[in-house]
Amino acid sequence: MTRFEVVRTGASATGAQPATQRNVSHRGAEANPSAKALQDKFSAAIKRVDVIWAETIVYVDPAAAHEIIRWLHDDQSQQYDFLIDVTAVEYRDAEVPIEVVWHLRSLPYRRFLRIKAQLPKGAPLEIDSLWDIYKSADWLERECYDMFGIRFRGHPDLRRILMWESYKEGYPLRKDFPLRGRFSRSEQLRQALAQNPEARYSMEELTIADAFAELPQDMRERLSKGERTGE
């Protein structure tokens, strides 16, 4: 059995030993050096750089987000190898666009970076998936889709993960979705009880399972056309 070599974090980091941050200022702290590197390389696609509470936030053009993050992952001077989180933020002000937020860590350099892309609300909410760069993006993006309705292009299996697949009330974390849901309590219960737990397999599962007969027509058509999802 193979034994792995221990990978030390901070192997490429310079400077002092890491310490608890003290007296962090609201704005104006020093930015992560990656922000400058990004601005040098992708000048047009970088909309803005903010440093709030000593965290660097880089606003990027949604169309270029995948390329930028691919560069951040592959480039030797950046090496952002750890995708912490993919999420989205919708503000209470209806005019402000929805932001897709990526949190990245560089373990060799011990850096943290937040990348944001703004998706205006009038257009369909779509952005490229990071699944080909980070496998951890798989479920994180599915959850983002489930809660916000943002479609990730290139994701192998974009379906709901926390709510059931035929959930009709909408996308829960949107601000126009009421806290207690859109339907009355008894209607929510009726819909919940009407789910057939066994019919909710993924595409591959369905070719094997006996639930084929209970599938909705469009899913059967997709299966018969040979559609496969990459799981």
Partner: protein, 435 residues
């Protein structure tokens, strides 16, 4: 994937010369996965049965919560695993948008319920970053004590349930007995055993009562005996080793790419611990080691977590020795409640009390992401504030969610019973996964 019905004529009877059934042995290849030896000549070369689809969960004793695993099996070997989650989705993040920061602390208990007080600490750190508050020294040490006690509690549950899954029942009882001691300590401190809500923005809900430190020292003194006992029973046990070595291997690159964190990542040889690399609560001033494995299998995860229990005791000892006197809460009446004696006697304190309770403290516009090392991995709270008392967005970065996503990769090629062991080694908490 191919599927064949089992209507082929067997060229052998399946029995050897003594009439015993012939078995296909499994060996591990270089990557550590279990593969079948090529069948000896004489058996039908491509005898492949129909793949079976079985469903584990969501109600199942060994899934550690309401997790559903759909497995495609070729005999006993898993060809593919598809996990389904969401059976405990309770809308935490949505409800966080309708609650003040101090009210959200109650929700952080229920989310990762094995690490409740650790979650309280994590959230309070995140909120204090958002508010721009520095907490007192005493509060920092108390929070370190709370986090490490919480780590011990969580690892003990993991140990107990992991043992039950592999088949050993007694360590579960030993572990829960020690947990009761910690529960009693925590109950003396904050009043609740499990859902503690022990922190507040700017401090703690309460200071430790007198005599509490003696109870803690007593626990630190006696706990290693239990650890040694469990160690003696399990670590070099042939059954234990045989059932856990070589399972569910993740290489370091895979582990980083799949976003694993915590003991899952460290068992694969990546030395990343948030307490060491992005420290908080002055963890850089404590003398402790972070165990790192080298094989990335279930046995290494067990060893890593076991050693973390011992290291947590070390930190607890140091924290207990260095606990400074002084106030626990910061002295900012806009953020934290004044002492009750003042609130009932002074007008100004009463008004502050009223405003903090009814309106809630308001942070400046901004956002913060603070990560702590929870027993499961990197636990992060991302909060976005628009200047009001309720956050615009409260995001929980759940370590178990990201760790569990790797299970299809880990169980491929293993046996059905190994699936249970691998699932147990991830240490998942469905409350955190589904939120």
């Amino acid at each position: 994937m191919s599927k064949r019905t089992v209507e082929v004529e067997l060229s052998t009877s399946g029995l050897d010369a003594q009439g015993r059934p012939q078995r296909i042995p499994l060996v591990t290849n270089d990557g550590g996965a279990a593969v079948a030896l090529q069948p000896p000549p004489g058996l039908e070369p491509d005898l492949e049965g129909e793949h079976m689809l079985i469903n584990i969960g969501p109600q199942h004793p060994a899934t550690h919560g309401v997790l559903r695993l759909v497995l495609e099996l070729d005999g006993e070997t898993v060809v593919r695993c598809i996990p389904h989650i969401g059976y405990l989705h309770c809308g935490f993040e949505k409800i966080g948008e309708y609650r003040q920061y101090n009210q959200i602390i109650c929700w952080t208990d229920r989310e990762d319920y094995l690490n409740s007080i650790g979650n309280n600490v994590a959230f309070a750190l995140g909120a204090e970053r958002l508010f721009g508050i520095e907490i007192t020294e005493r509060c920092k040490v108390l929070r370190v004590i709370a986090s490490e006690l919480s780590r011990i509690m969580s690892h003990l549950v993991w140990l107990g349930t992991f043992c039950i899954d592999i088949g050993a029942f007694t360590p579960f009882l030993w572990a829960f007995q020690r947990r009761e001691e910690i529960y009693r300590l925590i109950e003396k401190w904050v009043g609740a055993r499990l859902t503690t809500s022990a922190t507040r923005v700017g401090g703690m809900a309460a200071d430790i009562p007198s005599g509490w430190m003696d109870g803690l020292r007593q626990f630190i003194r006696t706990f290693p005996h239990t650890l040694d006992e469990i160690d003696r029973v399990l670590t070099r046990n042939a059954i234990w080793v045989g059932r856990t070595v070589g399972l569910g291997v993740m290489t370091p690159d895979e582990a980083i790419n799949w976003g694993l964190s915590g003991p899952m990542l460290r068992a694969s040889g990546v030395d990343y611990d948030v307490r060491k690399d992005f420290p908080y609560l002055d963890y850089e001033t404590y003398d402790f080691e972070v165990p790192v494995g080298t094989n990335g299998d279930v046995y290494d995860r067990y060893l890593v977590r076991f050693e973390e229990l011992r290291q947590s005791l070390r930190i607890l000892q140091q924290a207990a020795d260095r606990l400074p006197d002084g106030p626990v809460n910061i002295d900012d009446p806009r953020v934290i409640l004044p002492p009750k004696s003042k609130a009932t006697s002074e007008m100004e304190s009463m008004i502050h009390h009223f405003k903090v309770v009814m309106e809630g403290p308001r942070p400046p516009i901004g956002e913060s992401y603070v990560a702590v090392e929870s027993p499961k991995g990197e636990k992060g709270y991302y909060m976005v504030s628009d200047g009001t008392a309720k956050p615009v967005r409260w995001r929980i970065r759940p370590p178990s969610f990201v760790n569990l996503a790797a299970i299809p990769k880990m169980v491929e090629g293993h046996l059905l019973s190994d699936v249970i062991a691998i699932n147990a080694s991830i240490d998942i908490v469905m409350g955190e996964i589904d939120r």
